[in-house]
Amino acid sequence: MEPTREAATCLLELRDVSRSFGGVEVLTPIDLKIARGEFVSIVGPSGCGKSTLMNIVAGLVEPTSGRVMLEGRDITGRSGHVGYMFQKDLLIPWRTVLGNITFGAALKGRVSKGQLVEAAEMARHYGLSAFLDNYPHTLSGGMRQRVALMRTLALGRPIMLLDEPFGALDAQTRVQLQQWLLAVWAEMQGTILFITHDIEEAVFLSDRVLVMSRRPAAIAAEIRVDLERPRGVVVTTSEEFIAYKRQAMEILYSHRGLYEEVTDPAFATLGPAS
């Protein structure tokens, strides 16, 4: 990956974005650039401010300072410009799967027949066709996440923010959905900003992994993952992959004050961050 890529086609830019809640600094000024078509993950301990960062990008939370730029336009504090998938799937119980996927369109006005067909086509294309008429309560956790992701995708926004979308799934379903997400991303040629607390997930999915420090959070390190795509699960056992994972772990766990109580001898052998 050429280093100039994000400079050339920068889609989302955060300039000195910080946020405090009641005098407590949660995010220290953060600079971040995401190129069109990139898959960027943010890993960090829970409570460090990852969701807050997402909320700022989505325009749901005003940053205490700084600007959010999308395609060169200032969208600070303005919602409705990005696709945002929350930690909870937030499917609407009274809408069918197809109704949920077209929920964004419904919020904009009447859903046209064309939009319905288009959404159904998309859902079928990504493997959801058998459940289009189902109400969400009949779906498994993995299916619900797929529908929630389709809904976010259907918004047609230039970037998708995914906040720990697979956090509540069992390991097997999670791996399936990771692969599914990569396939969707590759096909849509979309741009994704992905939050997780799972280092392996971040390395497996991303072009870049940003490691966040504990509160007040800053981006402690950036790891460029140059693994070949498309990636299969097997890649997670390769030496390269493990090296990336180790690098991220070293940063995450050696960062001063990250986990006050980490005394696990397994990490004692890791040594300081390079």
Partner: protein, 318 residues
């Protein structure tokens, strides 16, 4: 497993539809038994037979009374529901009104309805109007309280999601808030349906210009015609029960997602069928790049393939 067995045992011994009938039969037998056991004279408690006989024989005279009261119940109920829903939406949308109107609404219920009925009649006359107001007063309260709390407790994350997509206030109300309040509204409608009958009787006791079952009970009582009193009480009760059942039935129609696994009869179903029967190439071949493990990912999602028979899915999912 044992739970399943108990349930099927219950079904076999007592079919669902028969249960209320059995309960009614038992109640009537108890009524009969009390009269026999304690030797109650008929002018104190009439027998079930004489009560039924009264309603049967005098139906032509009771009919106009019945329909008078029924119309008070139905119209008053509609007024109460309309006012209740309107107030709930207004108060949840305009926070200032929420805090201003709530004390007034509670006051309207704290004041005993029997005590405020006479002044209402003096103000509004002896016609239908005061009855609608009294029935409405009884009905609107559970509606406002239930619906307002539902409208105000919509998942804040859901609201954040809607905000991140962006919409108008009206669409937020129509697509998110109101549907999420339907369950509590239906519960309140059932309560309101039974309250409405009490309201109608109180209204009739206060204003006697038009004759209904309520004020006829007073007339019959003073004539010590207890079979008539009992018969009319049973008719009034019947109105309340019918209202309750009707509202339960309504709930099944307005909240289909509670008991159904799929939406049916919608335009959407036809789209879906057309799309599926269109012989779509499987996802595996279209999305999975050669050598990608995505193919494996889809294979494990194989149950996504449309079943030959839709009813199979529906059957499995309740």
């Amino acid at each position: 497993m044992s739970g399943d067995r108990t349930r099927s045992w219950g079904r076999r011994t007592l079919p669902f539809a028969a249960r209320p009938i059995v309960a009614i039969v038992v109640a009537v037998l108890l009524w009969e038994a009390v009269i026999k056991l304690f030797n109650v004279p008929p002018y104190v408690i009439p027998t079930p037979e004489s009560t039924v006989a009264f309603v049967w024989d005098d139906w032509s005279q009771l009919q106009p009374l019945f329909f008078q009261t029924l119309s008070e119940v139905v119209l008053g109920f509609l007024v109460g529901v309309g006012v209740g829903v309107f107030l709930a939406v207004l108060m949840s949308e305009v926070k200032v009104l929420n805090t201003t109107l709530y004390p007034l609404i509670i006051t309207s219920q704290a004041a005993p309805i029997v005590a405020i009925a006479p002044p209402l009649v003096i103000i509004l006359g002896f016609g239908m109007l005061p009855k609608l107001v009294i029935v409405g007063l009884c009905v609107f309260f559970p509606i406002v309280v239930n619906m307002l709390s539902a409208l105000n407790s919509v998942d804040p994350e859901m609201l954040a999601l809607v905000k991140s997509i962006e919409t108008s206030r009206l669409r937020l109300l129509a697509l998110v808030k109101l549907p999420s309040a339907l369950g509590p509204l239906c519960a309140a409608l059932r309560i309101g349906a039974t309250f409405a009958v009490t309201g109608a009787v109180i209204g009739e006791w206060t204003a006697t210009a038009t004759r209904g079952l309520g004020n006829n009970i007073l007339t019959q009582e003073s004539a010590l015609n207890t079979p008539a009193v009992f018969g009319e009480v049973i008719m009034l009760t019947g109105i309340g029960i019918a209202g309750f059942l009707l509202m339960s039935l309504l709930e099944r129609f307005v909240i289909p997602w509670r008991r159904r696994s799929t939406a049916r009869g919608l335009l959407r179903s036809r789209f879906r069928r057309r799309l599926v029967s269109g012989g779509a190439p499987s996802v595996t071949t279209r999305v999975g790049a050669p050598g990608s493990t995505f193919a494996a990912g889809v294979a494990t999602a194989a149950p996504l393939q449309p079943p030959a028979d839709r009813s199979v899915v529906q059957g499995v999912l309740r």
